[in-house]
């Protein structure tokens, strides 16, 4: 009795530890919460599209983008200087460490043009079919939320991906 108790307790403890480790490993794999946590950024840069995760572009790309908001992908997205400065600080502080300059050396402005994005979203990978980004349901690779249902919350976890049927109406 006396000898068995600690053995059992030890076994239980080992089980708890093992389960915990497995859960942590799974969470690492399956939860892909990206930081967009800044109220001004979310409201100002999340009105025409979802607020993109700062980590997906390098600091130079963000600086270049913030310097040209009056001509932002064919739209006028201009901001007063004070608000722009606050947002630039947040973007640069949370930018990806990898440089996102294009082959010509100028900073890339589209997340969807970066080599990382193209690789992660290549045809045939995890249900991505040819032409899906141009389909009626998705329209543009920048429409992250068409597939990442909780992209508006910065959540890119695999379990929250639903790829719309090609050509389906949204």
């Amino acid at each position: 009795m006396n000898a068995r108790f600690p053995a059992r307790a030890l076994r239980t403890l080992a089980l708890v530890v093992a389960t915990g480790a497995a859960a942590a490993a799974m969470a690492d794999d399956e939860n892909k919460q990206m930081n967009i946590d800044h109220p001004v950024y979310r409201s100002e840069c999340g009105s025409c599209h979802i607020a993109f995760p700062p980590a997906l572009l390098g600091a130079n790309s963000w600086r270049a983008m913030m310097a040209g908001l009056d001509k932002h992908f064919g739209s006028d997205a201009s901001l007063d200087a004070g608000t722009a400065a606050v947002i630039t600080k947040f973007l640069v502080a949370n930018a990806g460490r990898r440089d996102t300059s294009g082959t010509d050396g100028s900073p890339q402005l589209r997340i969807s043009d970066t080599p990382w994005f193209r690789k992660e979203h290549r045809d045939g990978h995890d249900g991505i079919t040819q032409g899906i980004f141009r389909s009626e349901a998705v329209k543009s690779a920048a429409n992250c939320a068409a597939c990442h249902r909780d992209a508006g919350q910065g959540d890119y976890s695999e379990r929250n991906i639903r790829i719309p049927k090609n050509g389906a109406r949204s």
Binding site: H49, S75, S78, K139, A142
Partner: protein, 137 residues
């Protein structure tokens, strides 16, 4: 680092506070834009009918205001490029509309440039506000 994020936080708080401080009513915008319009056009009076026509027509470009906001101010719209949903424009359907100078001036500024290639005149803004205020009827 600490003072840096503190600064950012303070700036953010100040921004949000300024947004609240300038909370206004739709009628305030109508009165203000009418008054501005009268400086160049004495006797100007806003017209919801003109506002509707302005809002739903193109002005030389590809887009009208309705391209993103639909022809019904009480309905949800959809951004022409990104597909993102846009909450209704009419204050009667969405109490957050026509409630803050900062937001209203910012969006008139941007959207008029995109649709007309120039700023909207005070008269055009007064007409649009008058129309948005009549909806939903």
């Amino acid at each position: 680092m600490r003072s840096h994020s503190l600064q950012t936080l303070l700036a953010a708080v100040a921004l949000i506070a300024s947004g609240f401080a300038s909370a206004e009513a739709p009628a305030d915008f109508l009165a203000r834009y009418e008054a501005e319009a009268r400086q160049s056009t004495p006797g100007f009076s806003a017209s919801a009918e003109r506002g509707e026509k302005f809002f739903t027509s193109t002005h030389g470009g590809e887009w009208s205001c309705s391209t993103c906001h639909t022809k019904n101010p009480a309905a949800r719209g959809k951004h022409a490029n990104t597909g993102k949903a846009i909450e209704p424009m009419a204050p009667g359907a969405n109490p957050e509309r026509l409630a803050s100078t900062r937001s209203v001036e910012k969006w008139f500024g941007r959207n008029c440039k995109d649709v007309l290639g120039r700023a909207c005149t005070p008269g055009e803004k007064a007409d649009v506000v008058a129309w948005l205020m009549t909806s939903p009827r």
